[in-house]
Symmetry: C3
Subunit: 346 residues, 3 copies
């Protein structure tokens, strides 16, 4: 049950060179691909393998086309073409509609008949689950929460009361959407809880990684824009707003009330302060610590480079002396200036 | 079903200026507040809106009182007053007592009749659940664990065997209390597990964030003091002790056997080494890395500042040369000293 | 039901000094140990307590043996001996075999009769659960997943479709094995999902901490070698490979397609870039950021040292001037050289 190269080329708008009737059955890596497989050139270091691969077809860009003698799909964006070919050859299977006998669905919840509700799911009163949505085993949908059409919650996902997810979202196992924000008022030494009354609003086509947590707003809402992609173990605090098509890698933490623009990319372990704004098209490199508002698009970084422990020990202690060093350097420059002018150094 | 300003002022010990019979129904942001809403001035940048808001009442401090013409609650601590007003207007609803028919409660567990046990909860033998405690859907309470009166476990929370939570705690979805500590002995290259035999002991009035993990002690216990507040995705290793009223923001990691004092605040992504001690009233700024014992109260930091990627590339490489730079600077100072004294530079 | 020192010494291959018939019942800390307890000297600061402890026996090394007058097990590796003594005195209790009545096990899954399947567990079609495996309450085992003999999944663990765990593994609560990798192709501003078709393959004797996430490979597999130990809240991205006996502390993030060698140790909060290689026997200190391939065994570090906030403010701003400082230092050296040679300074 493979697909012909002619059909793949047509559906992915790629140029076919080679045999249009050749059938491929699956995607594979360039190393592993055989005659029934289609593969693609992911990066420069794999290009050399083009001459030897017995792959049934290869997806590549125009500039690589004359390096390969076999069947190929030529396209401006091989990675995107690969994504589409892979989705055609390995389509996600929609599970049978219906509510598992062990699920606990409140009689005041509204579940579309085409949705799939897994084993041991709990859906509270007033919640709404859209057409063809899939709620994985053991997931929890709080009261008056909304799960959009075609959205998929993997097992053990938590969607708190009144939170809303758009259509065609994917939420991975263990993610928590709608936990309380971390908000307290100080009464002498003690912390008094500030009720967290807002919601989490998630746009269409958002993906949320495993064990990621998104807190509800304190009064207003926490908002995740259309097309945002969140990796695993990310923390999004209360009242954060994330613009459309922004992608955030794993282990990132974003503090409260910060607004992130559209089309940003945030690499792993980045930390972003609260109550600041990040413009559209800003990119942070891994483990950067972002303490202030960024108004200009561009790439931003922080952090010190890796070195051997022995060398690091010697250099790190100097970081505590940097201001002193800078002052001494300035003084030396002044002295030398005076000296070279024939003046006296005090 | 709102509350009169007179009543709110009385219960929150604030001074009322304006109409004591005015009824407010909910809290709202300064931007959104209408005549049935009460709001507060959160920070300086919102103060300008005071002149235009149609809010039914505003909570503010004495120094802001003459900037507003409408009803107000005047108080020394507007944030605390807001927390109390919000709790009065939006009280948490205690769910109906009882054990859900799908919950699996061991016959040798003791559950107070006023407690609420949600769908698909599992409570093991010897566990005790206090009065008015709420155990959310799918939560797990291990054998001989103790859940204090009024404590609330959100869905999917895990409390391991023999761990104990005090009264009035709140634990958010997916938090794991009482996983094994990360303890191994090395046998040549292989790691042999050291049985983790201790417990986690959590005091009264503690809040624990979503997907946070607290490991049980290796022999003794891991102890979380009264009033401690933990945000999401925090890791607390075995035998850590955290003093009363300390607040810890998201994504912090604390390694084994470290003792943290009382009233500390630890910002997001801070990392704290194992086997060290942090005094009372110590504050760490975001992403600080704490490698040694801190005996003096105060604010501590580490990390390098954010800059553009191009500029960071040039500066970061110099960090590896810092010790060399410091030595060259010293030598220059000595040479210049000799030169200015008329001596000869070797 | 304690164990005699003779028996412990025999089973742990330690040298017994003292009464071979003395019975100990449990392990305890050096502070708390009484006559029925056995303890060990964990580090130098506890050694002084040896003179006063009433412990029934102490595990220690030859060089500490003459500091203690009571019963002792003398061994080259006290920590390893302690691990074994603790396991003998506090053995893990294998729960009764069988499938809990509330578990949902697909008729096309194969569960060994000696395995234990807890309450509300879900096991999908084609999954296989080995002999004496223990699947904790609420855990999820996806279709065609494999759980090896003697492997223990704590409550709420998620093992995705087709993922495979070896024998004698321990997976702590909330861990997610087999979530989708974070893979997208860009189509103008939008991200298009690349199907994540690979698996997670976990070797024998692996321990995985609470709420840790391991993504499945994009095409090939994510591989965790035999004997690897992972702490809590770790993120392992798609197609990562981790060598045998490597140990990774909490809050570490490893980006996609990176290969980590054997016997490495990675301290807490370390971040490791994607598509790089780390040799065998490499060790990273806490919070290090690893951006490039490491070919030599050794200890590596990055990061700036903790200091008071006031001092940090002054030093951190200078990090942005480091390249400028380095250039000025170089120029000063040149000028001084010319000056000392009697030349003219421009």
């Amino acid at each position: 049950m493979g697909i012909s190269l002619a059909e793949l080329a047509r559906q992915c708008q790629a140029e076919l060179r080679g045999d249009p009737r050749h059938i491929v059955e699956r995607v594979a890596t360039l190393e592993d691909a055989g005659p029934a497989d289609i593969t693609f050139v992911a990066d420069d270091r794999h290009r050399a393998q083009l001459t030897t691969t017995p792959a049934g077809a290869v997806i590549l860009s125009l500039r690589d086309a004359d390096r390969f003698a076999g069947n190929m799909l030529v396209t401006r964006n091989p990675r995107l073409c690969y994504a589409r070919v892979a989705a055609l050859l390995h389509p996600r299977v929609q599970p049978a509609a219906g509510v598992h006998v062990t699920a606990v669905v409140d009689s005041a919840a509204v579940v579309d008949p085409s949705a799939t509700i897994g084993a041991h799911v709990v859906i509270e009163a007033g919640a709404r689950v859209g057409a063809q949505a899939v709620i994985g085993a053991g997931a929890y949908v709080g009261s008056e929460a909304v799960i959009g059409a075609g959205t998929q919650l993997h097992p053990h996902v938590h969607v708190g009361a009144r939170c809303e997810l758009g259509a065609s979202c994917i939420v991975h196992a263990g993610a928590v959407i709608g936990s309380d924000g971390f908000g307290f008022a100080q009464d002498e030494a003690r912390w008094e809880k500030i009720p967290q009354l807002g919601r989490v609003l998630v746009g269409d086509d958002v993906e949320i990684g495993a064990n990621t947590t998104i807190d509800r707003g304190a009064i207003g809402d926490t908002c995740i824009g259309r097309g945002v992609k969140l990796d695993n173990l990310i923390h999004i605090a209360h009242n954060v707003q994330i613009g459309e098509d922004t992608a955030i890698a794993a282990c990132v933490g974003i503090a409260g009330s910060t607004r992130i623009g559209k089309r940003c990319t945030i690499a792993g372990q980045v930390g972003i302060n609260g109550h600041i704004e990040i413009a559209d098209d800003v990119h942070f490199t891994g483990a950067a610590v972002v303490t202030h508002t960024i108004r200009e698009p561009g790439i931003y970084s922080s952090g010190s480079p890796l070195e051997t422990y022995q060398s690091w020990l010697k250099n790190a202690v100097r970081m505590r002396q940097l201001d002193d060093m800078a002052r001494r350097l300035k003084k030396l420059e002044q002295k030398l200036m005076m000296l070279s002018e024939g003046g006296k150094v005090e």
